[in-house]
């Protein structure tokens, strides 16, 4: 009888699944859910505010202005001869995409406990929706950055050189998105079990920014510390982002490969841990 054949059943639920059972086919089947979740996140962000999507731009602008004052005027940190505002804005834009990807996915289990307890769908859709949805915000900020660049180019005669390296931007986005996703999914599993870790993550991500050349160029770091700063996988990404847009900074293939490799490793680790947590998470809340 055909029911004895293994292929008769569409699905067998068992205690243990293989380590990296991503079940991409199922995720693909839920692609419409992915789209709805992204839409929900974007709509709800501006439905609850007066300024709406303007916050996407206001937030980095205000941060940059404060940085201009504190780090530029008071501390007089170098910006490699670039207009301070542009320098900080570029750094913040790239950094924020990574940091948002990380922090927003780290709450996956904690924030959705109610939902996860009632209905099944591939849980990985939720962190994916955060990372992909973050792109919308990033694109708005990037366009604003380009507008600012044009302004400085035309009216302030800033030394900005457009170059072909710009084509590498999608790659930089991909690497930082995947790295954020990997670190975020690892964090989400940790926060699901031990709640105090979520405070650590919020705080840690903010501190981590100062270990990344966002408010200072890598070239201003004393040579003996440069290796240390380069260990940070976001260093080469932020540097490259500034290089392709503003012409300052550095574009180092080896360092970028290091970042890509790092992203891949945390992503795989993240998926394994996420898979594990997904199966028994509901028993611990």
């Amino acid at each position: 009888m055909d029911r004895l054949k293994e292929s008769y059943w569409d699905q067998v639920i068992q205690p243990k699944r293989s380590l990296l059972d991503l079940n991409l086919r199922e995720v693909w089947r839920y692609r419409d859910l992915l789209r709805m979740l992204i839409k929900r996140d974007i709509i709800t962000v501006y439905k609850q505010t007066i300024l709406g999507p303007a916050w996407y731009v206001l937030q980095p602008v205000l941060t940059s202005l404060i940085f201009v004052f504190i780090f530029g005027k008071v501390a007089k940190l170098s910006t490699d001869g670039l207009p301070m505002f542009l320098f900080y804005l570029a750094g913040i834009t790239m950094w924020n995409y990574f940091a948002d990807s990380w922090t927003s996915t780290s709450g996956t289990f904690r924030m959705n406990a109610q939902l996860f307890g009632k209905v099944y769908f591939p849980r990985v859709v939720v962190p994916l929706s955060k990372v992909i949805g973050g792109l919308v915000k990033f694109m708005i900020q990037l366009s604003f950055l380009v507008v600012c660049m044009l302004y400085y180019l035309v009216f302030e005669d800033a030394p900005i050189v457009f170059n072909w390296y710009m084509l590498a931007i999608p790659l930089l986005i991909l690497i930082s998105g995947l790295m954020g996703l990997g670190l975020g999914t690892i964090s989400s599993a940790l926060t699901a079990k031990y709640r105090d870790i979520s405070f650590l993550i919020d705080f840690g991500v903010r501190l981590f920014m100062y270990a990344t050349p966002v408010i200072y160029p890598l070239s201003s770091v004393p040579p003996e510390y440069q290796k240390l700063v380069l260990l940070n996988p976001m260093t080469s990404i932020v540097e490259a982002f500034k290089f392709v847009l503003l012409g300052s900074g550095s574009f180092d293939i080896t360092n970028l490969l290091y970042s890509a490799g790092f992203a891949l490793i945390v992503l795989v680790a993240g998926m394994i841990i996420f898979n594990r947590t997904e199966q028994n998470f509901m028993d611990t809340v």
Partner: protein, 424 residues
């Protein structure tokens, strides 16, 4: 005729009792270490069953479900019944993949949609329309499937006019209707439903039950239905599984299984002798009786009569309880509350002066027809909150008398409430 669409084999789920807190990292490590060496999980003591009444289990780990085996054929409507804590919800969670089993396997053929709650994932800021799409895709529909049924869903829910209104402005009834409507238009091969029929207004419940019956009559879809409402189980299900203490006790036709379930309720009345005072139980009920003028002391009263309820207690007087309130709750044998005599209703509170004592309440003109009723006792204090609660503390037998003085007795199919009536 039909092939199995669900096959459950040796299914079991292990839960850890108590809070997940100190020691759990250490336990996790021990478990992990045993796992690495290929040994058996040191915390799963074989033989411990899910029995909440026995407090002195040897292990902190309990099998919420154990050795579950059954098959469901295509087109069947299977009822899953059992008392609270029998493992019904755990079984549903495993079947709908919300949590993974500890041992055993479930094989499934076809798409599964589980309906453990209506309106899952509704976002108050989004409009009705947006929420229909969100909820639909969460339940596993594609956007195109929602597109094709959108009009029907809105009409079924009666929310067409409010499609562009944020759901936060909906009444709670409207939210429930919208949630159920989305679920009702799901078309999976296997549908798992948990008591959602108990929600919404009467008219909508009728609609919902009608929809369920349509689904089950089509014979194309397989439905697993969990409920405490034996009436709807009887009308919908072709077969039932009775769970008790985490195992399948009976797997048979609906009529037989429901009757066994009701018997189980009677047998499980709590024994007052086994209860003792302890540090975290400074007050316990030790029994109750009713005093009927004609029938005397015991558990029997006459319909439409006046009688006294006496509830006895034992308390640790070293504690100051403050004011105490007591309730005598009459439930039907399915556990559904019918009426409550609560000392708070008559503005009466008690101070405990004796270690042992009794509370008394007179109930007048008992408006219940003949039959058996389950009694729940409840006590709270102004200082400590709930002191004791016994859900199934024994049966109260109401004797049928000639209520209306016409030489006829009321029939059970005429309901459980006896009306004061006077036909002109």
């Amino acid at each position: 005729m039909s092939d199995p669409v669900i096959k459950v084999q040796n299914l079991g789920k292990l839960y850890r009792l108590g809070e997940v807190g100190t020691g759990s990292i250490a336990d996790d490590l021990k478990r992990w270490w045993a796992n690495v060496r290929g040994r058996e999980d040191p915390f799963s003591t074989v033989g411990t069953v899910n029995d909440r009444t026995s407090k002195d289990g040897e292990s902190d780990y309990v099998w919420a479900l154990k050795d579950i085996n059954f098959e469901v054929k295509k087109g069947e409507v299977l009822g899953i019944i059992g008392r609270n804590g029998a493992g019904k919800s755990t079984l549903l969670k495993l079947l709908s993949r919300i949590t993974a089993p500890s041992i055993g396997s479930i094989s499934i053929r076809g798409r599964v949609a589980s309906l453990l709650e209506v309106g899952t994932g509704f976002n108050p800021e989004l409009t009705g329309k947006e929420n229909v799409y969100l909820n639909g895709t969460i339940l596993g529909m594609t956007k195109r499937e929602v597109d094709s049924r959108y009009e029907e869903i809105m009409e079924f829910a009666g929310c067409t006019r409010y499609a562009d209104t944020p759901v936060k402005r909906y009444s709670s009834g409207m939210k429930v209707r919208l949630g159920f409507a989305v679920a009702a238009f799901l078309e999976p091969e296997i549908l798992i439903v948990d008591e959602v029929l108990a929600v919404g207004d009467a008219e909508f419940q009728q609609k919902a039950i009608g929809k369920m019956q349509d689904v089950s009559k089509e014979g194309k879809r397989t439905v697993l239905f969990v409920s405490h409402n034996m009436t709807s189980v009887k009308s919908l299900c072709s077969r039932c599984i009775l769970l008790n203490n985490g195992t399948v006790v009976i797997n048979g036709d609906t009529e037989y299984t429901v009757n066994e379930y009701l018997k189980l309720g009677k047998d499980e009345a709590i024994s007052f002798k086994e209860r003792t005072l302890s540090s975290n139980q400074p007050f316990i009920f030790t029994g109750w009786e009713v005093v009927d003028k004609k029938l005397g002391n015991g558990t029997r009263v006459r319909s439409k009569s006046n009688f006294i309820v006496r509830i006895s207690y034992l308390a640790n007087l070293n504690l100051d309880f403050g004011k105490i309130y007591v309730a005598f709750v009459i439930c039907d044998i399915y556990g559904q509350v019918i009426a409550t005599a609560h000392s708070e209703y008559s503005g009466k509170s008690y101070q405990l002066n004796d270690r042992e004592g009794q509370f008394e309440c007179e109930i007048k003109n008992l408006p219940l027809t003949g039959g058996e009723y389950s009694i729940m006792l409840f006590c709270k204090s102004s200082k400590f909150g709930n002191l004791d609660k016994i859900e199934n503390s024994g049966l109260l037998t109401v004797e049928e008398i000639d209520v209306y003085n016409v030489g006829k007795q009321t029939k059970s199919k005429h309901g459980i409430i006896s009306l004061d009536q006077d036909w002109k």
